[in-house]
Amino acid sequence: MDVMPKWAEVVLVPLISLILAAILSALVILGIGEDPVAAVKLMVSGALGSTYGWGYTLYYATNFMFTGLCVAIAFHARLFNIGGEGQAMLGGLGVALACLYIPWPHWSLALIGATTMAALFGAAWAAIPAFLQAKRGSHIVITTIMFNFIAAAVLNYILVNMLRPKGSMDPATARFPDATKLPTLHDLLAPIGINFSKAAPANISLLVAIAACFFLWVLIWRTRLGYEIRAYGHSESAAKYAGISPVKITMITMIISGGLAGMMAINNVMGESERLVLNATEGAGFIGIAVALMGRSHPLGVFLAAILFGFLYQGGAELALWTSIPRELIVVIQALVILFTGALDNMVRMPLEKIFLSIRNARAPKPERKPVEPAE
């Protein structure tokens, strides 16, 4: 039985962690002689104060939702997939091939086709380390992180030697045809009378990401496969005893995980840049780890954490644009949030648990509470 009520678990712990991170960040900003209040104002107004800001915040958040879900599902099977970065790169390759070589008549078909290709490529890239883990016991943390570098090398080779238009200096594919152009939030919201910024890159993949959050929730808590994944994650030997095949669960979980990471490419490759560039993923796969940790591997938590990180990215960009705060410091602020919400979670949780425990003990004896379902 949980010591804390669920609302404290889900809301209070991350909130206090965030406040601690914010206080420390403010001290750092003070330390370099800038005004922390003005900086926060600039971040908030720049990221959330206009549809333009929201457009960028949600664009980044979409990336992080996919990679966050990728890490979260693997966590449920107690697999640590650090390879989201490489899987997303390969997903980008899948999207690029789908968009460049198949003449799509309409964007909706292109979206379905590109999503399938992205998921297939990402899943295939995750399947190899999964197989090595399941059959040979090669640790998945090591293999997935190595596969990130292999993915970068593969992408580099393919872009420079194969997909680059002749004579182009930029190691990137040609621009995708117009028929594959995804509608942005501006296009989607215009019919219902909301004038969303035209310049912002957030697009229909946001809806795909939200749908993915929902389906993952169904999968994990409402299906037999999800039950097997969680059982395997809690205790491998017990799962085995219950007739769950570790090989099957490892493979399936990693394939879903890689597929989700790969699907990120419909947002950044198809939705934003509309061509595949060398540096397309730019660390979103690693941010996904922080997002999954902060979201406690729950799809709703991942959704919220992704928006928070989207805010940090877009707010950080605004800081870089309009102040002399160097970009290294913006990385420091982002790192502090990750540190407090991800790594130092118990620092906040344990005192809170004590407080809740003492409150409960102080109350008069009461009938036994109905057991609450554990968060994981």
Partner: protein
Amino acid sequence: MTLMTKLLGAAAVTALGAGAALAEPALIFDLGGKFDKSFNEAAFAGAQRWAEETGETFREIELQSEAQREQALRRFAEAGSNPIVMTGFAFGDALGQVAGDYPETDFVIIDMVVDAPNVRSVVFNEHEGSYLVGMMAAMASESNTVGFIGGMDIPLIRKFACGYAQGVLAAKPDATVISNMTGTTPAAWNDPVKGSELTKAQISQGADVVYAAAGGTGVGVLQTAADEGILSIGVDSNQNYMHPGKVLTSMLKRVDNAVYQAMTDGPGMEKGFNVMGIANGGVGYAMDEYNKDIVSADMQAVVDEASAQIADGTLMVHDYMSDDSCPVLDF
């Protein structure tokens, strides 16, 4: 009435202030960052020189993500910055999208050609400068083996490597050129440790001059070359001073001049396509008090002759970009 005058006065001051802000130029650095001791830093130096001479200010931003390219361009254009200078070929696509939306703003892009009426494109003939330092490397080498260390395996760096190899073979037809790239992720532009490892690997293969075209990674290359007692060649900025007497020369790519010129010309500048080569001082090799003892007069005479021939067109250095291939080096 007085209130009205005050208000009007205030409005006039604001308008003036806005007017002053309008002319402020902006400089956008590529993902490598402002202080890479090489390409982006050269751009910063040019802008800094302009600011010091005119006493004016400029806006700047170091990008953190690909999506910010278009964002930064639009935000600066909307805020009235003019001209907007950006460093790096990776801006080409974004600028192609943005330039048409802001016909009143002048854009300057370095290392890439964007065909729009309000864009000045500045490209450098890196292969020509690399050819010259390649000749020097070959002449300074005693082992007849010289090295090249690039950042990432991208066309731009192949252009450097190809020019360098041609220069080496022109000076010593039987020399060997070893070529390595640092990595496959953007981290390769700022990885001095790996640059150092690659230098050691090339030394063990017999190289006694190494040329680094790898941004911040070059710092490690130059350091290790100096520690191990071989010569190195710097890139983009003049890096001779970093290890006096150990850096043979630096291939100068005068990004600083291009940025300085753009900011001096200001709004309404001449647009179009600028090629900065040996003929107009856009690229070259560095001679100063730090390397005068290791570059002999003979060496310099040979290189200057080649330089003159390239300038007047009698010597053609093959440009990797012209046909995506290099006659003397495989990638």
